[in-house]
């Protein structure tokens, strides 16, 4: 299979004749296994997440999608007894974020995360977006104002909230709250944004707004999204990873994977025979 060159990258490729160039890799997952105590949930997952693309992860409930996503920003370190094996390299640079001596705090500052249910802090809209910036040491009012506005514009929320930035975030609707959480996650310019079923608690209109945002967002960041909704994966992702029982079964270009899956399990899943 020939890898298509992502639109965002064409301009940067000098030698157009070199068509088989692989898309730039952002996150290289190699032989990743994960254990909740003695319970192994991920088995030797290897996967190259391309930069400035949307990568979807699909698979039946309990197959380990959330677990994989939370390995990438070391969220599992918050709870005792969890163990990683293998490596996850972040490019450019290629540092192993699971490696010894890697500080999970630093990892989390480079990976934004948006959760399944909107979880704004019980603070103002402004403070929600500013929090990540404050953690990174920004405290000048003018800088903060600028970055908060930018993040809110990029999450298509600015026009709806610009007149009430200092009101509580909980007065927003569910869809607005989720866009606020996106603004909070992208305000610090992370390298990668991780979404765990970000629209499963939202109605169709709020969902389509968020889908638009994600597609728009890939100009600036690499996106990895877990979803249960195969249509959603088809609509917004460039590449799709299909997982089953903690293993990566198939990974490829989304159109190809949905129309011409290489593995029988993938075919069974996308045709609705299980999961």
């Amino acid at each position: 299979m020939v890898n298509p060159i992502p639109a965002a990258q064409v301009s940067s490729v000098k030698d157009i004749a070199q068509v088989e160039v692989k898309p730039e890799v952002k996150v290289e997952i190699q032989n990743l296994s994960f254990f909740y105590g003695r319970n192994q949930v991920l088995r030797n997952v290897s996967l190259d997440v391309p930069a400035y693309q949307v990568t979807a992860m699909i698979g039946p409930s309990g197959c380990g999608k959330t677990t994989l996503l939370r390995c990438l920003n070391r969220m599992h370190d918050l709870y005792p007894g969890n163990r990683y094996e293998g490596s996850v390299r972040l490019y450019p640079g290629g540092t192993d974020i699971l490696g010894p001596g890697m500080d999970p705090i630093r990892v989390r500052m480079r990976f934004g995360m948006v959760f399944q249910k909107p979880n704004p802090f019980p603070k103002s809209i402004y403070e929600n977006v500013a929090y990540g910036l404050r953690l990174q040491g920004m405290n000048k009012r003018r800088d903060l104002d600028e970055r908060v506005e930018k993040a809110l514009r990029e999450s298509a929320l600015w026009d709806e909230v610009k007149s009430r930035l200092h009101q509580l975030a909980h007065n927003l609707s569910g869809g607005q709250q989720q866009r606020l959480c996106i603004a909070r996650a992208i305000a610090t310019d992370p390298d990668v944004v991780l979404f765990d079923e970000p629209t499963s608690a939202l109605d169709p209109i709020a969902t389509s707004k968020i889908e638009e945002l994600i597609v728009e967002m890939k100009k600036r960041v690499t996106v990895i999204i877990v979803t249960h909704n195969l249509q959603q994966a088809g609509r917004i992702s460039d590449r799709t990873a299909f997982m089953y029982l903690g293993e990566l079964i198939e990974f490829g270009e989304t159109n190809r994977l949905f129309t011409n899956p290489a593995k029988p399990q993938t075919e069974d899943y996308i045709s609705g025979r299980f999961g």
Binding site: M109, F115, R184
Partner: protein
């Protein structure tokens, strides 16, 4: 069995259950009414014999052998100073321990053991705290029969209450809020300081006030460490008119407190001392009730802007 008969049986069973329900409701209501009634009678009784005694003279006089001239000045000043010691020890220690146990402590046999024993400590008879304080603070640390020793004894007594209240307040904060902070790169300390503590101040403060209203009425531990029952002077003032403007001599002063003053009067013969005791009791009760009221208001106010 014909269907209609079956139905009738079910109907009979359902109506029996409904009547049990009704009766339980009625009995519960009566029991509640009775309990409230007892409390009301107690208050009225105190008020009837004590209310007329409460005036400025009563609040601003030292105890005296002549009941009509006696007052509770040294008692309420002692109580306030004790509470200052108690709060400034029990609150930081209790909140810190609650945060540690809830947010930092690993889950293992040792922390399980600590946890169980904190609940047990809340049930230890207060006089035992008095005995411990007598041995430890009065004799071992040589604090004497002082406000410091009394305040520390009461602090030990209410420490478990503060710890438990802190943990419960922290536990109402959903994990998703913690994860939101961690995902942005917050350390545990930052998550506690920027989020968990601010979101749980209402609950913690309520717990602290309830703990203080428990401490304010305690007499057994204070008597055990040797609080005086008759004191006709005030401890040295904490604020001075000259440099260094602040003094801690009062910490080592002998003291009395409201419940002890009351105990002293109750144990004396004579109608008039009894009404002095009732007046002191009423005063103590008013303080306790207004502390509880403050706790309720505070909780409402602090939680107003906090939703998940």
């Amino acid at each position: 069995m014909p269907a209609s008969q079956n139905l009738r049986k079910q109907e009979a069973r359902a109506s029996r259950r409904r009547s049990i329900d009704r009766w339980f409701g009625r009995i519960g209501f009566l029991v509640t009414l009775g309990t409230l009634g007892v409390l009301a009678i107690l208050l009225l009784n105190l008020a009837a014999s004590g209310l007329t005694r409460i005036d400025w003279q009563f609040l601003l006089s030292f105890p005296s052998r002549r009941p009509a001239e006696a007052g509770i000045l040294s008692a309420w000043v002692g109580t306030i100073l004790l509470m200052m010691v108690t709060a400034s020890v029990a609150v930081p220690l209790g909140v810190a321990a609650g945060i540690y146990l809830e947010e930092y402590a690993p889950k293992n046999k040792w922390t399980d053991f600590v946890e169980i024993n904190i609940s047990n400590l809340a049930g230890v008879p207060s006089i035992l705290y008095g005995l411990m304080a007598l041995g430890l603070f009065v004799y071992q640390f040589r604090f004497g029969q002082s406000i410091l020793a009394g305040g520390l004894a009461l602090a030990c007594l209410v420490l478990p209450i503060v710890i438990v209240a802190t943990r419960e307040a922290l536990r109402t904060i959903p994990a998703s809020i913690r994860e939101a902070a961690f995902a942005l790169g917050a350390t545990r300390w930052q998550a506690v300081w920027h989020h968990l503590l601010p979101y749980s101040t209402g609950g913690i403060a309520t717990g602290v006030i309830l703990a203080m209203s428990r401490a304010i009425g305690e007499s057994a531990p204070l008597i055990t460490i040797g609080a005086l029952t008759f004191i006709a002077f005030l401890p040295p003032a904490p604020i001075l008119a000259h440099a260094p403007f602040i003094s801690f001599d009062w910490l080592f002063s002998p003291f009395t407190a409201l419940p002890i003053q009351m105990f002293n009067w109750v144990s004396r013969p004579g109608e008039e001392f009894q009404s002095n005791a009732a007046a002191a009791g009423l005063f103590l009760m008013l303080i306790t009730l207004s502390m509880n009221g403050a706790a309720i208001l505070l909780r409402r106010h602090a939680q107003r802007n906090i939703k998940w």
